[in-house]
């Protein structure tokens, strides 16, 4: 039985004399025993410690050595410093720049893993209180037998009830604490060991997320692995502003659920609009398809300032720290509902509902903290209904006249442009606005990430973000799209049907668009990439803000991508798994391929499964707008599984890439599990983590990173066709490394045979072979014999 690292009983006896004899130096620890149905043999690493998978990490890090990109030359984390780490210098603690950068990456990933785990803990505790410890885990009924693939390979357990999930969370909390402690001054000193711990944080993060989503799917009856989950409304224009409007922001859905429940129970469901941003909105629509998603995280300011929300309810994660100030600007009361984000507000959790509502409506208090989701639901609904007639949608967006007058005050100092993460041409747009032409301001809307740094930087205190929003008013009202509600897990039967074609390469890849909305050129790029790969019959998955951005596009018939493509996990599907915490369903699909298709054992068998996925499952993660520490830890969870992740250009600010070198032949050998021979496979996949400069580069790279050593010749030919086609279209030329991906002549796409054969001849290419690939000598069958 697996043993939790947390010990319940610890007995130490230095010396004990009794009638029976003398005992000296006895030390006894009894771990918590977890009941586990014996479905299969337990693997070597249940509940792995920070070092149990270190050797696997080192194999990956040897192939993909870190390349560090420090923001500055200094470390200022302790009072020895600040320490200059430039030109090979070490700090007062002895740390060098490489270790310091990897330490920063570990800190980011610990923050991310802690955030998801704490969210999961909060959610599980609440759901246990509401539904009981014995509430069964059910993420897909009979269609999903492998209900918790990540938890299985990491922890080696099969959680059956909400109560069982606490064991996994105990583990996550222990590991995050260990990992965080390693970043203390005078602890870890090696950058490679820091990197191994980064991978560990990512793996733990995946468990935390999986627990959170399993709990909410099971208890709230979200869509259960349903490819036909309902299509729900998304976009600014879908909100009926004539009604009282509640806006929810964040990631923890119980307050939003309670709002919906209160409205339904009191016959108010059609009278009040429940709208939201970010993952709370996604999860609210999984609970109630009538709830509406306004947009991804970057829509926060523009939506609040529009004056449409009558009440703002915030929970946790990715919420603007100035949400209270912004809500005040439009005279909308704010309710904070999470202990992680109290905003300095009075705690009214124990007060009567009507007293809180009266204070909010009268303006005696601008906001309240309520740490009881049920009470949040009632207060939010009552307040919205009563405050709406008073507010009359009071907004903080200037009139056109005010924009023009304000624009005339611009001194063209360019501070706004320097502050803008996307280097938008704000000065030129404002200059045009001063002459009465707002078109250039409206154009900026598409690429604006909604951070409002331009406003903070402006010495004239011009509300530049609001200028952009006003100029784009019409465009925003036209934002009416459909998104498929997050379906959760992938069904076992779907895996059975596509497992073979994926592993053999005949489905050219599985591409997951995940992460935040810090896009270099607007969210439409995500929709373009999503559709491009669905059209090419890759399996496309989405989650979180990326899932929303993928929806915000219409074809000539006015249809959104989720209306054009089915939600099935199959070639040409666009599969929205759900919110941030639904990401493990993506990793889980890869894991389930190893289990259901290849019959590999899962329980506590992380290394073998990761080796399988890395060498056989052509999966690529794309976090085009990756912004947060959570996005970093989500990515690192994929790295440890050997799945490459591409981030957008802003992702370079994570300060470390994991880059392969296709020109170093010696890096690209695997063992042939049949014979034990070391076989050259070509750079497949070439990188584990890298920031692409443009969407064009990302698209070519997605096709390239989908190749795996295990591809059959037919599969490789299909993958090469996409790689070459995208390269020709977007780069205007044939790839210059095609010879590295052709193992035998049968790999060559038949329609390009002459052209590629010529290239191979020029490159003095030699025929290779296709192994049964593994990086693990223990899996060589000949040795076993």
């Amino acid at each position: 039985m697996p043993r939790l690292p947390k010990r319940d009983v610890h007995v130490k006896i230095d010396e004990l004399k009794s009638e029976l004899g003398t005992i000296k130096g006895l030390e006894l620890s009894i771990g918590r025993l977890i009941e586990r149905a014996i479905e299969e043999e337990l693997g070597p690493t249940p509940f792995p410690s920070t070092t149990d998978l270190r050797e696997w990490d080192f194999k990956l890090l040897k192939k993909y050595p870190p390349f560090y990109l420090p923001f500055c030359d200094l470390c200022c984390l302790c009072t020895f410093g600040k320490c200059d780490l430039s030109q090979g210098k070490r700090g007062a603690c002895g740390l060098d720049m490489a270790a310091q950068q990897s330490r920063i990456v570990l800190l980011a990933c610990c923050i991310g893993a802690a955030t998801h785990t704490a969210h999961a803990r909060h959610l599980v505790e609440h759901l246990i209180e509401e539904f009981g410890r014995d509430c069964p885990i059910d993420v897909g009924g009979l269609n999903v037998e492998v209900e918790a693939p990540v938890t299985r390979i990491v922890c080696g357990i099969k959680p059956k009830t909400l109560g069982d999930l606490e064991d996994a969370l105990d583990y996550c909390e222990t590991e995050v604490t260990h990992l965080l402690s390693a970043t203390h001054t005078g602890q870890e000193g090696s950058n490679i060991d820091f990197e191994s711990k980064v991978f560990h944080a990512g793996m733990v993060d995946q468990v935390g997320m999986e627990v959170a989503d399993m709990a909410q799917i099971s208890a709230y009856n979200f869509p259960k692995a349903d490819p036909d989950a309902p299509l729900v409304d998304i976009g600014w224009g879908v909100v009926d502003a004539a009604k009282p409007v509640i806006m929810v922001i964040g990631h923890n859905v119980p307050p939003a659920v309670e709002i919906v429940d209160y409205l339904q129970e009191n016959g108010l469901h059609d009278m009040v609009e429940v709208t939201g941003l970010c993952c709370t909105a996604i999860d609210a629509t999984r609970y109630d398809p009538k709830a509406k998603i306004v947009g991804p995280i970057s829509w926060q300011l523009r939506y609040i300032r529009s004056g449409i929300p009558d009440v703002v309810v915030v929970d946790e994660q990715c919420i603007r720290a100035d949400s209270l100030n912004e809500a005040q600007k439009i005279k909308a009361p704010l309710i904070a509902s999470s202990p992680k984000n109290c905003l300095g507000l009075p705690n009214r959790t124990r007060d009567p509902v009507d007293a809180i509502v009266a204070d909010l409506i009268s303006g005696r208090t601008l906001g309240v903290l309520i740490l009881d989701p049920e009470k949040v639901g009632e207060v939010a609904a009552k307040t919205a209904i009563l405050v709406a007639p008073k507010r009359k949608k009071f907004k903080a967006i200037p009139s056109v006249k005010n924009v023009i007058e304000g624009a005339k005050k611009c001194k063209k100092c360019y501070e706004c442009r320097r502050a803008c993460p996307n280097d938008l041409t704000i000065v030129e747009a404002v200059a045009d606005a001063a002459k009465g032409n707002l078109n250039k301001l409206a154009d900026l809307y598409d690429e604006c990430v909604g951070c409002a740094r331009c406003e903070s930087a402006c010495p004239q205190k011009l509300p530049l973000h609001s200028f952009i929003v006003k100029a784009a008013e019409k465009k925003m009202k036209d934002e009416t799209y459909k998104i498929r509600a997050g379906r959760g897990a992938i069904q076992d039967i779907e895996i059975r049907e596509v497992g073979g074609p994926i592993v053999l390469g005949e489905i050219p890849g599985v591409v997951a668009f995940v992460g935040c909305a810090n896009y270099p050129k607007g969210g439409e790029e995500v929709a373009e990439m999503t559709m491009e790969f669905a059209k090419r019959r890759y399996i496309v998955l989405t989650s979180g803000c990326a899932a929303m951005s993928a929806a915000m596009y219409k074809n000539e018939e006015g249809k959104s991508p989720y209306e054009i493509y089915p939600g099935v996990f199959d070639a040409g599907g666009i599969v929205n798994v759900g919110s941030c915490v639904s990401n493990p369903h993506i990793a889980g699909a890869a894991i389930k391929i190893a289990s259901i298709f290849a019959r590999r054992k899962l329980f506590g068998n992380y290394e073998e499964i990761a080796d399988y996925i890395h060498n056989r499952v052509g999966a690529v993660g794309v976090a085009w707008g990756a912004m947060s520490q959570k996005a970093a830890s989500i990515a690192s969870g994929f790295w440890r599984l050997g799945v490459p992740v591409i981030v957008g250009p802003h992702g370079s600010k994570y300060r470390r890439m994991l880059l392969g070198r296709k020109d170093r032949k010696e890096d690209w050998y695997v063992y042939d599990a049949r014979t034990g021979d070391r076989v050259y496979t070509g750079p497949t996949p070439e990188h584990l983590f890298y920031a692409a400069e443009t969407k064009e580069e990302a698209m070519v790279m997605i096709a390239k990173l989908s190749m795996r050593p295990n591809d059959t010749t037919r599969g490789r030919a299909i993958k090469l066709t996409h790689y070459i086609d995208l390269s020709r279209r977007l780069y205007g030329t044939m790839p210059d490394d095609i010879h590295l991906f052709v193992r035998t002549l049968a790999d060559i796409p038949i329609t390009m045979k002459d052209e590629i054969t010529k290239i191979l001849k020029k490159k003095r290419w030699k025929e290779g072979r296709i192994p049964d690939p593994t990086l693990l000598p223990r899996l060589i069958r000949k040795m076993e014999a």
Binding site: K653, L659, Y731
Partner: protein
């Protein structure tokens, strides 16, 4: 610095085709020919070069060329050895910042120049923040000096 360099390399990002200087790609092709510098095109800007009949020494992601430049054992695209000067233009400002910092720390023998019009503190040499007009003049001056 360009004249003194034995093995210069010019890294051109996609913004070189989007800048206020309409014909910057043409200028860079001329610059490369005049100074005998190898050109690496990043992202999709290779298309711009090929359409003008100029084939860069290579095209690859910015992160890839930066990663090679920090490897003292790398022999370059022509097999003749590591480069000693890298000039950057046309990448997003923050990417250039981070790459220049990475090279400053982990590629001690490499000199770097930023040819963009915004100051890059991690470069061995950079323009200050300048207007498009000043930028144009400065680039012309550099090219004229190299012609001599």
């Amino acid at each position: 610095m360009v004249e003194r360099a034995n093995r210069p390399i010019l890294i051109v990002g996609h913004k070189a085709a989007e800048t206020g200087l309409g014909e910057l790609i043409d200028y860079l092709i001329q610059f490369a020919k005049t100074s005998n510098v190898s050109v690496v095109a990043t992202a999709h800007v290779v298309k711009e070069f090929i359409e003008r009949g100029f084939h860069p020494a290579a095209w690859m992601p910015a992160m890839d060329i930066a990663n090679r430049l920090r490897d003292p054992k790398w022999k370059g695209f022509d097999g003749k050895g590591q480069y000693d000067l890298a000039l950057f233009i046309g990448l997003p400002y923050y990417m250039t910042w981070l790459i220049l910092s990475g090279l400053k720390h982990f590629s001690s023998n490499l000199k770097t120049i930023s040819l963009d019009r915004f100051y890059q503190p991690h470069a061995s040499w950079s323009f200050p923040n300048i207007s498009v007009e000043e930028w144009r003049k400065n680039l012309d001056t550099i090219e004229n000096k190299l012609k001599k």
